[in-house]
């Protein structure tokens, strides 16, 4: 029995806004699954369906073997949930929140243990949540999710509002839970976060799953593509004409920063690129990156179905890949910023 399984899950808002399309997910018991995608890709919609906050337009979903529509209560008895963008109760203290969750879940125990685990000290526990920072709210929300030792944690953007230390602690906590046998399903638009902690990831783009596999496999598929960023004294008016260099996949010139970012087929191409740039301008700085997960993520999202990279070998096949690609390409520019 899978921790989460969806079959052809589709959610359409109104007449035509497709938030999730024909989604087939499978999350195993005990694994940490990163659900990756830009804001608006359909991650929260999917999670809302798992918790029966939203109802599927088509297809079905089950959590721990229970159908989300028929047996939602049974699901929520065994799941810990951290919703995204949900406010807590301003007039109640942190302790009262945890005690409430404990009473609802019918578990005894010391709320202080929870506070310790999520990194809230005792003084904070007795303050009302109205005085909490966003990061503290996020920790408290996570604490509520941990109550009752759930079999599955569903965390929607768990690191939002957390500082780098908090994010790192959050990752440690997720790993701890996983080592305990708890399955963790968490959504994120931050690749670094997913990379550090997940057994497997699924990439969601425009409501579709464009890739689902372990990070190693996804990285392998992506091959040795490399990126190089060159800063020059001044970008010449007619550019660098880099596309004619063998092995260059694409380049982006930023005249204001006087930089050019070049994507190369593999790392050996970089020398040629530097040479070509050096012929046209004076090089000030060179930054070179190996294939990063982030560029891989962007590549998957840009291609919509990921077929070009993976040779159609992915979990999600697309019949209308061409139109999808156009849509995601047109919206890609602004979303890229969000992901970084």
């Amino acid at each position: 029995m899978a921790a989460i399984e969806t079959n052809g899950l589709t959610k359409v808002f109104g007449d035509s806004v497709v938030a999730v399309e024909d989604l087939d997910l499978e999350v195993e018991q005990g694994e940490v699954y990163g659900f990756l995608g830009h804001n608006g890709a359909g991650k929260s919609t999917t999670i809302d369906i798992l918790l029966d906050f939203l109802h599927p337009t088509d297809g079905s979903a089950s959590v721990l073997g229970h159908d989300t529509r028929e047996e939602s209560l049974a699901i929520r008895e065994r799941v810990g949930v951290l919703p995204e963008g949900a406010k807590l109760y301003d007039r109640l203290t942190g302790r009262e929140h945890i005690e409430f969750a404990m009473e609802i879940k019918g578990v005894d125990g010391d709320p202080d243990d929870i506070f310790e685990r999520v990194g809230l000290d005792r003084d904070d526990a007795d303050r009302t949540v109205g005085e909490y920072s966003k990061g503290m709210c996020q920790r408290l929300g996570l604490g509520m999710a941990l109550v009752g030792d759930p079999d599955l944690l569903i965390l929607d953007e768990p690191s939002s509002g957390l500082d780098p230390t908090g994010m790192s602690e959050m990752r440690d906590l997720i790993r701890e839970e996983a080592d305990d046998g708890t399955a963790v399903f968490f959504s994120s638009h931050l690749l670094t976060e997913v990379e550090a902690v997940c057994d497997r990831i699924g990439i969601l783009s425009d409501g579709k799953l464009v890739a689902q596999d372990s990070i190693e496999v996804l990285r392998e598929r992506f091959g040795g593509e490399a990126t190089i960023e060159v800063t020059v004294d001044a970008v010449p008016d007619d550019g660098f004409d880099l596309e004619t260099v063998d092995g260059v996949l694409g380049s982006t010139v930023d005249p204001e920063e006087d930089t050019v970012v070049v994507e190369c087929e593999d790392s050996t191409v970089r020398g040629d690129v530097v040479q070509r740039v050096g012929e046209a301008a004076t090089i000030i700085d060179i930054v070179s990156e190996e294939a990063s997960l982030e560029s891989m993520f962007e590549e998957y999202v840009r291609n919509g179905t990921g077929e070009e990279l993976a040779g159609g070998d992915l979990d999600s096949e697309s019949a209308d890949g061409s139109t999808k690609s156009e849509e995601s390409a047109s919206s890609n520019g602004s979303e890229t910023e969000v992901a970084r």
């Binding site: 008895e77 007039r91 009473e103 609802i104 509520m144």
Partner: protein, 281 residues
């Protein structure tokens, strides 16, 4: 028993809200003003205590609903708007748990505040009036608390239907204005509208009993009649029909309690029917 846990949480939450206490304070001030200033020797057939209580009924039938609406109109809508309902329903609670918990929690807050006002009222009466009818005051207090519960239920029911604050406010105020103000407004009410339909459009004989029943369907009117007939022992005029052999059962005091019960149940049932299947986002 999750509803009880939710009710306790909601009670705790609501009881720390200054707005709710402000609303309840206004009612306390109002009780002090009425009972502290009305005549201790009104003359006529009724005692000073009776007149004082009937004044409170007359004003309370319009005033209490507004306080209850303030207390409860955001009970569920507010959780939807802030998203906290995702925490609430991410835990193993049913939607019915939420509805009942909210109803009980807000009713408890309202009754606590109104209860204080009633005790204050009793103290003032015992100081100012020679004779305090303890039984009558107890009955009057129960009526007030019953009416309180009814209007909290109406507000919670509407709140279960509405996703935004604006809608919940419009919905609860709409119910109040239609059923507790317009309904009773002389010469501009459903009574006269129905008599127009029956007599002028349909050409039928006048049906005064029907008109009188329709008037009594207003929760505020039913509340006042129940008080006059069952508790204060005062007569009421203003009927369109003549009832020399006594009122039909549906115009009698006890039936007003049934009408109020319907007002307690129906909004909750309608709200739940919708909330049970509603999508949250």
């Amino acid at each position: 028993m999750n509803w009880l846990t939710i009710a306790k949480k909601d009670f705790r939450d609501a009881r720390r809200s200054k707005i709710l206490w402000g609303a309840l304070l206004i009612f306390n001030v109002f009780i002090v003003a009425v009972l502290g200033t009305n005549s201790t020797d009104p003359g006529g057939p009724y005692s000073a205590a009776q007149v004082g209580m009937s004044t409170m009924v007359g004003v309370g039938m319009f005033f209490l609903p507004l306080i209850m609406l303030v207390i409860a109109y955001l009970s569920i809508t507010g959780e939807q708007e802030s998203g906290s309902i995702k925490y609430l329903l991410g835990l193993p609670n049913t939607r019915l748990d939420v509805l009942v918990g909210k109803l009980v929690g807000r009713t408890a807050v309202a009754m606590l505040g109104i209860g204080v006002a009633l005790v204050v009222g009793a103290l003032i009466m015992s100081v100012r009036f020679d004779e305090v009818p303890v039984g009558q005051y107890a009955g009057f207090s129960l009526m007030i608390l019953y009416f309180t519960a009814v209007y909290v239920a109406i507000a919670v029911g509407v709140s279960a239907l509405c996703r935004t604050r604006a809608r919940a406010l419009a919905g609860t105020l709409g119910v109040y204005f239609v059923f507790s103000v317009l309904w009773i407004f002389p010469s501009f009410n459903p009574q006269t509208a129905v008599s127009y339909v029956v007599e002028d459009l349909l050409g039928l004989a006048a049906m005064p009993r029907l008109y009188d029943l329709i008037l009594h369907l207003s929760p505020s009117y039913a509340f006042s009649i129940a008080n006059y007939e069952l508790v204060l022992d005062m007569t009421r005029g203003g009927y369109m029909g003549t009832y020399v052999d006594g009122f039909p059962f549906y115009l009698q005091g006890w039936f007003m309690l049934v009408i109020l019960l319907a007002w307690f149940v129906a909004p909750l049932a309608i709200g739940y029917a919708r909330f049970r299947k509603a999508e949250l986002s």
